[in-house]
Assembly symmetry: C2
Homo-oligomer: 445 residues x 2
Amino acid sequence: MSAAAVEPVKAGDVAELAFAAKRAGRKLASLSASDKDQILSRIAASLERHVAEVLRANEEDAAEARVAVDRGEMSKALYQRLLLSPEKLQGMIDGVRAVAKLDDPAGKMLQRTLLDDGLILEKVSVPLGLLAIIFEARPDAITQISALAIKSGNAVILKGGREVERTMAAVLVAIHEALRGSGLVDEAAVSGVYGRAPVEALLKLSGTIDLVIPRGSNALVQHIQNNTDIPVLGHADGVCHVYIDAAADLDMAIAIAVDSKVQYPAVCNAAETILVHRAIAEAALPALADALEAKQVKIRGDGRTRGFLSGHAVDLVGDDEWHTEYSDLVVAVRVVDDLDEALDHIERYGSHHTDSIVTEDADAARRFLDEVDSANVLHNCSTRFSDGFRYGFGSEVGISTSKLHARGPVGLEGLVTYKYRLLGHGQVVKDYAGKPARPFKHLKL
Amino acid sequence: MSAAAVEPVKAGDVAELAFAAKRAGRKLASLSASDKDQILSRIAASLERHVAEVLRANEEDAAEARVAVDRGEMSKALYQRLLLSPEKLQGMIDGVRAVAKLDDPAGKMLQRTLLDDGLILEKVSVPLGLLAIIFEARPDAITQISALAIKSGNAVILKGGREVERTMAAVLVAIHEALRGSGLVDEAAVSGVYGRAPVEALLKLSGTIDLVIPRGSNALVQHIQNNTDIPVLGHADGVCHVYIDAAADLDMAIAIAVDSKVQYPAVCNAAETILVHRAIAEAALPALADALEAKQVKIRGDGRTRGFLSGHAVDLVGDDEWHTEYSDLVVAVRVVDDLDEALDHIERYGSHHTDSIVTEDADAARRFLDEVDSANVLHNCSTRFSDGFRYGFGSEVGISTSKLHARGPVGLEGLVTYKYRLLGHGQVVKDYAGKPARPFKHLKL
């Protein structure tokens, strides 16, 4: 028998399960910050008691995954990601305790207004309600997202890739034991679904699920964005730019371009394209190419770039290629006539994620920061800085390239909304609309 | 010849027009608050110079509309709404000047963090970019939305119902003259489209248009919500509830229920359903029914309500009917066993817009305010209060029942998002990720 039984959930049962989760979330939403923190420390303790079962379940997932790798049905990178060591599991448990230490994003009084004597308007942050997390082989997402959901007062439905289903089931056994032990909330507040059918069923529940958070490949995110009316927190692409202006400090520009490309090429805030002002191109490009090539970066370029780099092997970038997220040690380089051409390029081909200008010219920097329509606009630093941890958010729920609700690196505040509470003593609108109409006071409190 | 030429815009030209508007918006976004206010006062002055042309264009729209009314192709209410008097037009012009006096929602520093020496993170509010407003016969929407867009630094595309196309064209002539006169922004920043085809074309431009604001019937809003990937600011339904708790003050409850229903029954924050705790039903219902009937309200009820109101003509509410927005002098009444049943009813049938509890029981009030998942939750006051002007927002962009971005009555803050600006001096991530790694400071400034 497996460490934890994994029963596929039928698509038809998903709506009912979501409804139960939403209902449990209503209770969770009304808990105090200390009650929620108590639940989190119970979860951490319960996970520590279940370490053996979780590791055993993960070994079973791993055994099946190894067969898939041998058959060429699974990448080695995916296999590596699903493996849990005792140290990695302890790190996940420590992460739950770290979330307990963060500020509660819900229940914050955002604004208070006296509309009239005895009629007070309060704008207060509240949990979104029910989250759905759809992730590929990443066991750490299970505990991290569950902890962030509970901390912010949201119920959550977890749907992991089938390659981590046994691991997820074992983790949920521990989480559910903690929820039951707390006596504070129904265990449906953290629900898991298994099997293939539930994803499409989840994506249809736009009245019940308030936010979908995908964690995985661009293809996964794009598939989810294109197949649901539920708001999705995430980004499909990270096509980030470094623009080296005419007035750039050359050494700085090269260091920033190299760091933006090579420090971790597989992630979304790595640079894909370097734009170089033509006035500095002759001086900058050969040194830039040397520095990139020293880090094994393959350079692709437009016609002018190739002209300046005749001694280097530079393939021509096709017109459609400027949209490409290489996520690898490959970079596209283009020479532009001026700042305006750089701005136009970024508007046309960028993904509104992160773009950086390198310049000593304050006016050029100001225009770039104002006019580039991206979540993160940077001056004289590497694109790799745009990240919730580096920004000091304590946790990162995701990175959003949407402009609404949450943009850029998103911390716990991305899991709350607000509501208006109006507290009266029998007031009716007729008295404020008649002749004579009673005036409002509208005093900020 | 008509007062202003109205040329239908071909669907194929809409994308180009939107691109030009977006580009003009980039300029608008970088203007100072005083530049934007100067543009608004120029628009007001230009409209005053064009009063005769606007009124003449409106007369032509009205003449055509009268024919449609006579043929039974247009409702009298719609006809009344499209009519402009000199006083109403002056009110629109005064409204533009009033918007200039509001706070600029863009350019606000929301947060500043020192990540490390010489590496400062700024979170700053910025315009969304390009708005599209789709409205039915409401000439006042043209100037109000244009003014709100400019104030917040957004470009805007206006698409009015065909019954006000001449009026809109005449107003835009005046607005464009003011924009040209300012020398600050291209007139494409406020663009109008005409004819039937452009709506569907606009709704496809999810990469270019950042927010759609519908102003019109529920059917219009729903059509737009169902036919675009662009975020929509609005609400299709307003199914609002008044719950009269066991511990309600009876006179207060009746006054609030009556005001919530009759003060302006056609609007979204009017109550459609009154829920009555069974412990107070026998005392409350006959008096409530008398008060409602004195205002010509037709009562519909569940079985128990009808039992308590045997002397009144009360039709039975069908199970599916609790979702209904009557928008008229009709109200549904239901007796519930307790607060939980009221909460369940509101969760199931409500539209998450505005719901009010009448009670002297602080615990019941707290649970209602916490657990009802609506944009506006009220205690002991009328649902009709949930409105941007009554809330003191100065302007109302719309009312949102979405939980993301903007919820409830939305003022100018609904037309901005934020971006992160990171200002460095050559910093690269390698130094913060190596061994030893340089630590971040993360000091709030």
